[in-house]
């Protein structure tokens, strides 16, 4: 290889080495940018992680905000962090909270004093702008910003660069966190992006606390309801016990009353039975007395009539004893004796010839006797009718004045059978009882 060829090859090698060097530097730049992004991303994640952990562990929203102020100041190296809270029952007013991160409190004493005396409306100052937009905001230099009222209160407030971001519960801004640097600071989109995420993270705690407050309220209501129900249950239990006691007492009273009633019933049943027995005896006595009375009356009345009957019977009897009817039998004998010559006898015999006259006289006499006895018998018949009337009248009295009583039909039939036992036996009647 000639020297010229060697020089050419050397130049080629030099160019190749230079290309390789540039390629390496570019690759290094790419790698560095990748590393830078990776680092930034890692720091962001660490920050979010730390804030999330701190927020979850925080006992209150204030503690969570304080932890976030500290973490973001540590992350950014900015010396001042502060929080504004949306005024209670308002969506347009921000009030300063006593929550600060101050690397050097004495250095920022004036700014703190001014801030703690300043409230903001929507759109006013850095916090008001964040409240209005619901988005992070950045100020390069607060001393040069036309909408940063706190810079007008003092010549030197010690802060220059600023950024703020909202804490969002859902879509509602509930707080604004603001951070300040000592030097003017250009907007850092990455930092603002992280701030927005932190704001959302913190918002969760507000949502959680709000939910917790709602839950607590519901819980309190439930407790109150439970207490009311317990009281009602206790009242019910007492009422139940009282009722049971009353039922028990009432049962005792009823048992006692029942026993008394049973005794009363037994007594009354006994009295009833005694009354019935007495009644029966009275009825029997009454019946006997009645019968006796009836018998006496009947006997008296009938006795009177019987005297007349007896007179009539005696008259008839006497008349019959004296009757000449028996003379007819003697006439009959005469006829029998003179049956063969009856006509001669009647015509020729003296006695025989008187016989028809006699018969005529006898007939007249017998007719007189008959009329007299018929008269007497008519009288007798009337007297007998009189006796019958007396008895009938007595029976009607007996029906009118008789007492009504309930009787056992079987006993009644038995009585009737017993009364007629003699007649039944006489007529050979057999009674069959089922």
């Amino acid at each position: 290889m000639t020297d010229a060829a060697l020089l050419v090859e050397l130049e080629q090698l030099r160019k190749r080495a230079e290309r390789e060097r540039r390629a390496r530097q570019e690759a290094e730049l790419l790698a560095e940018e990748g590393m830078r992004q990776l680092y930034a991303r890692q720091r962001q994640l660490e920050l979010l992680h730390v804030i999330a952990d701190a927020a979850n562990a925080a006992a209150s929203i204030e503690a969570a905000i304080q932890g976030t102020l500290n973490q973001i100041c540590a992350h950014t190296g900015w010396p001042v962090g502060h929080a504004y809270l949306v005024e209670e029952n308002s969506t347009v007013t921000l009030v300063p909270a006593a929550l600060w991160h101050l690397d050097h409190p004495e250095r920022f004493a004036a700014f703190r004093k001014i801030t703690e005396a300043t409230r903001f409306q929507r759109g006013e100052g850095l916090p008001g702008r964040v409240l209005e937009s619901g988005r992070p905001a950045w100020i390069v230099d607060v001393t040069q910003d036309s909408n940063f009222p706190r810079a007008r209160h003092a010549i030197e407030i010690g802060v220059r660069g600023a950024f703020g971001f909202p804490v969002l519960a859902g879509t509602t801004v509930v707080a604004v966190l603001e951070f300040f640097s000592r030097e003017p600071a250009e907007p850092d989109e990455v930092q603002l992006n992280i701030a927005a995420q932190v704001g959302t993270q913190l918002g969760r705690i507000f949502e959680r606390e709000q939910a917790s407050e709602r839950l607590l309220a519901v819980n309190n209501q439930l407790h109150q309801q439970v207490a009311v129900r317990q009281a009602a249950q206790e009242s019910l239990r007492q009422a139940h016990e009282q009722l049971e006691r009353r039922v028990e007492e009432r049962t005792k009273e009823l048992k006692s009353a029942n026993a008394e009633l049973n005794a009363e019933i037994a007594f009354r049943e006994k009295a009833q039975r005694e009354l019935e027995a007495t009644h029966k005896r009275l009825l029997e006595a009454s019946r006997l007395a009645g019968m006796a009375e009836v018998a006496t009356g009947v006997l008296h009345n009938v006795g009177n009539v019987l005297n007349s009957v007896n007179v009539s019977a005696t008259v008839v009897s006497e008349n019959l004893k004296k009757s000449r009817a028996c003379n007819l039998s003697r006439v009959a004998v005469l006829f029998e004796q003179h049956a063969a010559d009856l006509s001669a006898y009647l015509t020729a015999d003296p006695k025989g010839r008187r016989l028809p006259v006699y018969l005529g006289q006898l007939a007249k006499h017998l007719a007189g006797e008959q009329a007299e006895m018929l008269k007497e018998l008519e009288l007798l018949k009337k007297n007998i009718e009189h006796i019958k009337d007396i008895v009938a009248m007595q029976q009607s009295y007996a029906r009118v004045s008789g007492a009504t009583e309930q009787v056992n039909i079987a006993d009644l039939i038995e009585d009737a059978l017993r009364m007629n036992a003699g007649a039944l036996a006489r007529h050979s009647v057999q009674v069959i009882r089922d």
Partner: protein, 185 residues
């Protein structure tokens, strides 16, 4: 040690003395030299390279390191302009070391073992800076401060009353800045 330091060193050496000088340093130090900015490499590699440069350039290792720091600043300003643009002076720039620059370094280089600085700003004229590092690279810090001062058009006077190299627990540097005209590149 992060690869970015070796890359800066390579770039400084190459700018000042050419690619072959860097190759020679690697050969002398017996290091293969395949560094990437995000990689981690033994501190010993840096010390070997500094030692090799010290021999080659005829300066003490601390002087080499200081020179490296001074020359590294323009490269850093080009690579990471955001750290510089916000400042008008070396003083305010240095005051962002702990709060901004080192956190950013740690973003890019997880596990980076950055030195500890502390500042006393009570004097408006003199910035007192404490330095502590197990690597004892206070010379690098001086070089970087000088480079930064040049970037902001200043000259810096550095007193170094306490130094780890002299047995002190940490270094103490007293810095005073004077505007020197137009900013350096």
């Amino acid at each position: 040690m992060k690869g970015i330091i070796f890359n800066l060193l390579e770039e400084v050496v190459t700018q000042q003395f050419g690619q072959s000088s860097w190759d020679k340093l690697l050969d002398t130090a017996q290091i293969d030299g395949a560094f990437t900015s995000l990689g981690n490499y033994p501190d010993e590699h840096l010390f070997k390279l500094v030692a090799a440069a010290s021999v080659a350039m005829g300066h003490s290792p601390n002087e080499i390191v200081r020179w490296f720091g001074t020359k590294a600043i323009p490269l850093l300003a080009r690579k990471y302009p955001a750290f510089f643009q916000k400042h008008q002076s070396t003083r305010t720039f240095l005051l962002t070391l702990n709060g901004i620059i080192h956190p950013e370094v740690r973003k890019l280089y997880p596990g980076a073992d950055t030195p500890d600085f502390d500042f006393d700003t009570s004097s408006p004229d003199v910035l007192v800076m404490g330095y502590h590092s197990k690597r004892k690279l206070c010379s690098l810090a001086e070089g970087l401060i000088e480079g930064a001062a040049a970037h902001f058009g200043e000259t810096v006077g550095i007193r170094h009353p306490l130094c780890q190299h002299r047995g002190d627990a940490s270094c103490r540097m007293e810095l005073s800045f004077v505007k020197s005209g137009s900013p350096g590149s």
